[in-house]
Symmetry: C2
Subunit: 211 residues, 2 copies
Amino acid sequence: MEGATAEADSAEGSFTDESFADVTPDAARRLLLGAVEAFAERGFHATTTRDIAGRAGMSPAALYIHYRTKEELLFQISRVGHERSVRILTEAAATGGTPAERLDAAVRTFVRWHAAYHTTARVVQYELAALGEEHYGEIVVMRRRTEEILRTVLSEGVAAGEFAVEDINGTALAVLSLCIDVARWYRTGGPRTPDEIGALYAGLVRRMVSA
Amino acid sequence: MEGATAEADSAEGSFTDESFADVTPDAARRLLLGAVEAFAERGFHATTTRDIAGRAGMSPAALYIHYRTKEELLFQISRVGHERSVRILTEAAATGGTPAERLDAAVRTFVRWHAAYHTTARVVQYELAALGEEHYGEIVVMRRRTEEILRTVLSEGVAAGEFAVEDINGTALAVLSLCIDVARWYRTGGPRTPDEIGALYAGLVRRMVSA
DNA sequence: ACGGCGACTGAGCACGCGCTTAGGTCCGGC
DNA sequence: GCCGGACCTAAGCGCGTGCTCAGTCGCCGT
């Protein structure tokens, strides 16, 4: 929880994602951050390598010293982003407490991450189709783990009599879908902070599944 | 209801969207349908005009007899698609019955449309950023109407004592988000028919808001 | 002092893109 | 019979793209 709480604590404003804090060298990290911004704004295919390099304050050619292709840049973003989001979900779902409490924590922090880091999250969730086949394969494994975590919590809640859920697979998919889609519509400076959306969504999901 | 029921009646398989049935001449309609497929598969920016023309069985130049630019093709798809989806929601929310029944009908048919015509819906919901500024402005008006319909039903349900919803705006956004995101993950040939997903989601939403 | 090496740039290549243009074909009206 | 217009194609223009490469800069160990 500690990590997950720190994750989105400053909550408002467009601060950069610390997911990429330990990427070295410095230029490689700046390129990644530039690419995240650009991909989130325009999409992968509408973004030029010149734009990315420009945001990082470098010439177009410098990009290819640190990454072999534009697609590899996307893959690194996707990989790190997925690792982070899976970690957050795992930690939240593994806290002590009843299944209801764990589902609450999972939805709350997952949503908060998608809102606070919606720039990264948008690339992570909506640019999958631009990945190469092999890279996509690696990512899909992590995505399946995400679904598995949700299904597990729901099953345990049903077993404990806390939840009344007929279609566990379908409901898990719906809950995830609800959380993920936050990255699509969230705007910094909107009426709600990531924390508030997390709280709202946790409540909605709780009512959706509780017995 | 009649129209909305007919809308997704054959329910399974990848049948073409009749939204574009009255587009003339024939070649213009074939181009639209080809563009819908291509945009849904690869996204607007990754789709070439040669690809679209090829799917319609024509030379690249033929596209420009019927549409001035590639973007206009996207706009026509987006416009017709939005009109259709707004009409569906409006009709469902305007049936007689309690707010709970109308919310049920709205979610059910809206979700069914997004699943059954997920190809069109994916373009409609996820390619907005590729629209030109003026065209985007036109579309946004329709999207606001969609939100308004949802907020109205929720408000009426609260007033009638059927729903217990604190944050009407936030909840309306969440419900819409849930429905829309179906277009992202739905695949034809998956375990659930559009009808089944509609029923599942209507139930989930009902529990989310009911007093 | 200097060699070697990693980081970076300026210039530019080959390609595929959106779109245009000149011209061909077909068909209904007179 | 033949004109006019709607529809379509072959060819290709100009440009911006992803990416490359020869060469420069500056820092480090010796």
